[in-house]
Symmetry: C2
Subunit: 402 residues, 2 copies
């Protein structure tokens, strides 16, 4: 490494230390970053000059004179995150220490023509920037989370079944209308990155496998602090593994995919089929006899009353989800599995059914350090994840204005 | 980073550059490692003193005086690799530039009592060291590849179904009798690491998923140059994903595992069952009417003659393998899938059946950069992989005597 590279790495490490550990004094930074105190002093001076760091007064003395405590100026920079969901678009602004400082949402509506839709996204981004009264140079960039297959290098949406989009140059379109760096990432992966984050555990080498169980099913793998993307940007498609060889046709065109037998859509379709056959059930009562009104939520509501038909439908879905998860656990041996998405918002019953299936299908003694939990980070988790994807990318590219 | 850390990183980088690119001159090393020529000169001097590097005379001039060409002294250090297979134990010695310089093998025989078996392994290691006439300080360590669940930190064999071993402190036993660092790794992962290696592609960030299709089924994931191990050292257990919910019981205790329907053992069992039912087939002819003599190899031989029963048996196995692989491809999106192991040594027919199944089950547009190939690195590939596991570990621990 040459001097310039080392100086840059050292500066980034001091910056990260301030972000994570601040308020903190210079000696403590030196200790945590393995740098000499003069080096830390000179980097901190530079960060002062750029108004990235500020003093918050004296800390406690450990014998000598009390040290000056430093922290990142949180409002100095912000990240914008956009979550393009099939029903709702959510936009957040996070400050440099990952606190959400603004948010907005609106119904997604018609995603065609795609270019007009992209223009709407740009307007929402500009709206949140305006709301923040942030200067252009304070906005570090925009992370966009989009369902579907994304080509990471170009930010093209190769294929989004949820949106019916094919080969849409989303990043290029946004980049043409916004004066900030733009990153496009798969929504399940952005969510995974946010859900993998545990404060105080930043430097871990842990692996988190996060599964989004909703209308569709997708996943993301996070190794340490980084998303695993795969070779062509299409990793995490656990919804399309074959779990029922002779099962129903999936909207991807294959047969017996996990998504075709265990997603919110699959649960609704199965319930509609059964009710059309005239089988008596609370489901029929709740939908007022109109099978078209049945969605997964309604089936869960019926199951909560103890309705056997509903219980059987969700139990079959849970068993298949357990098969899919056990596959990921056998192959990846992650530290954590986080179950996210709409299906998990129906109380502990479904979660327990999944755990029962997992116990049946997971190889014994595999995944001995595994903990399984459900998502806890709320409706803006994917948008916050988009901010994290952006932050990581700028970090690795050494493209922060520090 | 402090000066000492930087100096060590620089030294390791020069060393790696010499290993990979040698013979090479100092200016070229400086260019490739981003170091100044004086820094490279001083590191090279140090390596000369330790007899790690040598001059092989003058290279071609690019204008000025012809530069001195340097290379690693290949015989200066060696790695020992041990492959504990269920039928054969193989031991290799590789020099520092990963060339195999010695090998030996013997039948595995009875693996009990485990401690006596471990003593046999030590004798084989000492035998190959003697064969090499290597001094103790030239042997950098011993990498051991063992089928089963391995705890990486301790080198304990948690569970090995192939060997019937439970909680065996293999590394501790070997370490007590051998004066070298010992690393124990799962055999499928060691094989994966060796099979992922493509000369000239060392610095890639590619991902390789290597599957060992033999008597059992296991896999390893290599990201860049490193094995993905997972949180508890049990990753890669693709043999125990559920692919046939209502299928046969697997020796792991679960139902319908890939290994229970598609391994060499499963193919043999299925053929034995059919022949016992009296169905006419070349298989019955080849086994001389004794179903106990049927192994997977025999079924493949019958399939090669066009025997329909045999063809159907292996086609069912291939379909399940395709389902398992498509799962891994959907989730991991690797650059390469390498199919290894005994089942792949039966000609292109089986490989083509697997590819047909994959086409049916893999999600469209996923894995767009994927290439699928079969193993090419021969019977010592796992033992060579054990050397690579060791080399990587010593590298990351900065524990090479340079």
């Amino acid at each position: 490494m040459d001097k310039l590279q080392i100086a840059q790495i050292n500066k980034y490490n001091v910056f990260r230390c301030l972000v994570r550990e601040g308020p903190i004094n210079r000696a403590a930074i030196a200790k945590l970053t393995d740098l000499s105190i003069p080096t830390v002093m000179s980097i901190v001076d530079d960060l002062f000059e750029k108004e990235v760091v500020r003093s918050i007064g004296k800390g406690e003395s450990s014998g000598g004179k009390p040290p000056e405590m430093l922290e990142i100026v949180p409002e100095r920079f912000c990240y914008i995150g956009v979550d393009i969901g099939r029903t709702t678009i959510r936009v957040v602004a996070n400050n440099i220490i990952s606190q959400q400082i603004a948010c907005l949402q609106e119904p997604t509506g018609d995603p065609f023509p795609e270019k007009i839709f992209a223009e709407r996204l740009c307007k929402l981004v500009l709206q949140i920037v305006k709301q923040l009264q942030a200067k252009k140079e304070c906005v570090l960039g925009v992370g966009v989370a989009m369902p579907g297959l994304i080509e990471n290098e170009t930010g093209n949406v190769i294929f989004s079944p949820d949106f019916g989009w094919d080969n849409i140059p989303l990043r290029a379109w946004l980049q043409g209308r916004l004066p900030y760096p733009i990153i496009v990432e798969n929504a399940n992966r952005a969510l995974a990155l946010n859900e993998s984050y545990i404060p105080g555990e930043e430097d871990h080498t842990h692996t988190t496998f996060s599964v989004n169980l909703g209308y569709g099913i997708g996943a993301g793998l996070v190794i340490g602090e980084d998303l695993y993307t795969g070779s062509s940007g299409t990793s995490g498609e656990i919804g399309h593994i074959t779990v029922a060889k002779e099962g129903p046709v999936c909207k991807c065109g294959n047969i017996g995919c996990l998504e075709a037998v265990a997603s919110g859509a699959a649960i609704a379709i199965e319930a509609q089929r059964i009710i059309r056959e005239g089988i008596p059930s609370k489901i029929a009562e709740f939908c007022g006899g109109d099978p078209d009104k049945i969605d997964a939520k309604l089936v869960f509501r019926a199951a909560d009353t103890g309705d056997e038909t509903a219980l059987e439908i969700i139990n079959i879905a849970a068993e298949y989800i357990g098969i899919g998860l056990s596959m990921a656990i056998n192959v990846l041996d992650p530290d954590r599995v986080v179950l996210c998405g709409g299906l998990m918002k129906n109380g502990p019953l479904f979660f327990n059914m999944i755990k029962t299936s997992l116990k049946k299908h997971q190889m014994r003694q595999v995944g001995r350090r595994l903990t399984i939990s459900t998502e806890t980070k709320g409706e803006y988790s994917t948008a916050n994840g988009a901010c994290r994807v952006l932050a990581n990318t700028l970090w690795w590219r050494r493209a922060l204005p520090i």
